[in-house]
Symmetry: C2
Subunit: 470 residues, 2 copies
């Protein structure tokens, strides 16, 4: 234990460099110290060090601990356990910790959280537990959380924080500042003050720096800006994120169908949304659904099957194209050896074009004004690279099999397939997008089907015709 | 023209719903109105409507206009042209507009911009133009911009804004507020006030909401928080973004090697970084480098070649594996028909695993604590899905060629290749990461090489052995 004795002070500095190693993961020495403290039920150490960590740091520690250590740590920390850390961990870890706690304790903890964090924890619980917890909350708290939970997943209403600062338009800057000084019940942090009428209808908003720059006797209605970026509670979170990005917002009012202020979306929430949406695109392009690292083997297997089934069908389709030319292959086995090269190069080139297209559509960089130009560009790129690689593979194949005609045929097939790859790579996502489908989901399988079918049929077809087989 | 006459008022509302259509692109009717005004040199309309757009909206309009219209619009808008809109457009569009303007005019405009926007525009210019523009700026402005430009691309120093509010520790909250009320030279917007010593060394920071909640007679040093998230100017922007995300920061101090405050990184800049980095990962996974939609055909072709060359080598490698079994194929052409199915299914499964792994590494969700568990999980998933698809393809192939043994062989090869895909999909990115390479760049080609080689060799090898060919 001696070598661990130096750690406590370091950890009490609460400096990130102390709990994280160079690789960005929690240091094993720190984990060992925490593990030992849990085993010794050293409440003093745990509360004074682990209890002081930032919620995200505590989240990392929880994830790195063993399952049985987690429950013990939460129990030992008692009131010092920061429930907000549960918003930072994997769903499986969160559920495990929450399930182990009595609903009374969760209800108590939830009251301390900002409403967006509370919703984040409550939304994954089953209906029964959730109702039991909500029933134990004070009336206003319960109403607010129920309202957030009533909005569909991935909407602004579900993501918003219901704590905000709102003042009437006739107040002065001085009154507003005095109100904030005297009121203990403000949100933990905020970057805007909203201006509302007696019916809670949103009139405007003022950034805090604006308040600080203005004389005390000025009325808030004179300095508020009209909130043209008020976000309907039912708006999809991705759309809300695009508005934040376009207009560089730090926070935005969320309004219900009667234009009444019901909450605030903060950039912290939006940063998470941006990450999630980019993540979703990457996973979808890779043929993976909404899976988490903590998912079980069975659920992971099952979630990946649909995509593999689709691929099986398209692979059988490509195989049956080859089957059409079995007599040709019988007479020249070199064709079977070379044909995957044509298909593979096409698949690769098609994936390149498709990736660029899917991204440009997601970020709205591609629209009706430049689609035509980009299609022409991709076709030209496909043709140029087709010619370049036709020459290369033509030489390789000709020399390998000592057969100049074979080199010529694979070269011609390569040009055809690279052009097909370029057109498929751009037109397939565009068409999917046009018909309201997410191009990230289905483009890859269609593009490689095109390049496989065109690759095999052009190469084997040209060979059959040229050599006059059959 | 009559039907366009209704637009001006709509546009003067400056409401986003007016310039954007349902598809999120700028409405063609709006563009036509702007185009007509440019053709008529209708300065009044342009300044009062287009000149009032948000910088991002003006950026979208510029991108949608024809090349010659852009230059005319900028000229007609004159002083009303918001140079910040240039930070919102594609690099090619920006360069086109900037190149058309005299350096004097750019120098004048740059002084009006926040320093981060100014740097964004200046960094792409060639050395000569940049020096000429900098030479025309006032001394302090020039020094600040030169300092930012002196930091490497993609660092915090290059991204930071050099305008900030800083006060000494002995000031009271009241003094600080009065200073902000009286000073006209504050940044356009800010969310923190920094506390510095006479040497400009950073002592702490205070969020604006904290200032507003505190009595006037309290000293700032009493309410400032120590800035443990001060960011060294040379830190990579991706690392800075991770700190923002982890600690939910709205802004952070940037310090030089002597701990002196040199600028501030804002969440607006960081949101752009997060987008860029996610984008980079997606493009790299798709085998595309750092390309833009506006790049020319030649530069696009050239940038995609390296990846295709690598793929050509690996495709030839796979082909030579097939070449080892040419005698076998000669005796049973069905093998040539079926072999791409085994390779394709493996490629797909491997890509799924690889995508999950690359993302988990990028978001630091995977680390030494869970790597072992995830490797075991992926191997199990590969085995389970291998068995599922082995049964399916075994039945299909057996029935298709009326040959039960062939079905058994492809089934066995499928299990082997799906297991290889799972292991390759996770171990290759892990190894690349371990050796300091970005797994997003090179994983895909290695993984599909593994699944092609294992797929072809296991299937053809098993067939050769089972049927006793050769």
């Amino acid at each position: 234990m001696d070598d661990l004795e130096t750690l406590p002070e370091a950890a009490s500095d609460n400096d990130e460099s102390d709990i994280y190693g160079d690789d960005g993961a929690v240091k094993t020495s720190y984990l060992a110290r925490v593990g030992a403290a849990i085993a010794d039920r050293d409440v003093l150490f745990l509360r004074s060090h682990v209890g002081k960590l930032h919620q995200s740091e505590l989240g990392h520690v929880l994830e790195a601990l063993h399952s049985e250590q987690r429950a013990a740590l939460v129990e030992l920390l008692g009131d010092e356990f920061d429930f907000a850390s549960l918003t930072e961990v994997d769903e499986a870890v969160r559920m495990e910790i929450v399930d182990a706690l009595p609903n009374e304790q969760i209800a108590e903890a939830v009251q301390e959280l900002d409403s967006d964090d509370a919703v984040y924890i409550l939304e994954d619980l089953d209906q029964e537990d959730r109702d039991e917890i909500l029933a134990q909350l004070p009336f206003t708290e319960r109403v607010r959380l129920r309202r957030s939970l009533g909005y569909p997943e991935e909407t602004a209403g579900r993501r918003m924080q219901t704590e905000f600062v709102a003042v009437p338009p006739f107040w002065t800057v001085g009154q507003t500042i005095d109100y904030m000084r005297d009121n203990d019940d403000l949100p933990e942090s905020f970057s805007q003050v909203f201006v509302i009428d007696p019916m809670f209808r949103l009139l405007g908003a003022i950034d805090l720096d604006r308040i600080l720059r203005t004389r005390r006797d000025v009325k808030v209605e004179e300095i508020m800006h009209e909130t043209r970026h008020a976000i309907p509670a039912t708006m999809d979170q991705e759309e809300a994120a695009q508005i934040f990005e376009q207009y560089d917002l730090l926070s935005a009012a969320v309004v219900d169908e009667n234009e009444r202020l019901v909450g605030v979306l903060t950039i912290e929430n939006i940063v998470d949304v941006i990450q999630e949406e980019a993540e979703e695109d990457i996973l979808r392009l890779g043929g993976v659904g909404d899976e988490e690292l903590s998912d079980s083997v069975v659920s992971t297997s099952r979630s990946r099957v649909p995509w593999l089934v689709v691929n099986l069908f398209t692979a059988i389709l490509s195989a049956s194209v080859i089957g059409l030319f079995d007599a040709t292959i019988q007479q020249m086995v070199a064709l079977a050896v070379l044909m995957p090269i044509v298909a593979s190069m096409g698949g690769n080139a098609g994936t390149q074009t498709m990736t660029v297209t899917v991204r440009a559509l997601a970020t709205r960089d591609m629209d009706i004004y430049n689609a035509g130009r980009i299609i022409r560009r991709e076709a030209s790129v496909g043709l140029i690279n087709g010619v370049v690689f036709a020459i290369l593979i033509g030489l390789v194949a000709g020399l390998w099999f000592g057969h100049a005609n074979l080199g010529g045929i694979i070269a011609a097939a390569m040009i055809i397939n690279m052009l097909a790859a370029a057109l498929g790579g751009i037109l397939i996502p565009l068409l999917l997008h046009r018909f309201g489908a997410d191009p990230a989901i289905a483009s890859a399988v269609f593009v490689t089907t095109v390049t496989d079918v065109v690759g095999f049929s052009s190469f084997l077809g040209l060979a059959t015709w040229w050599f006059g087989f059959k």
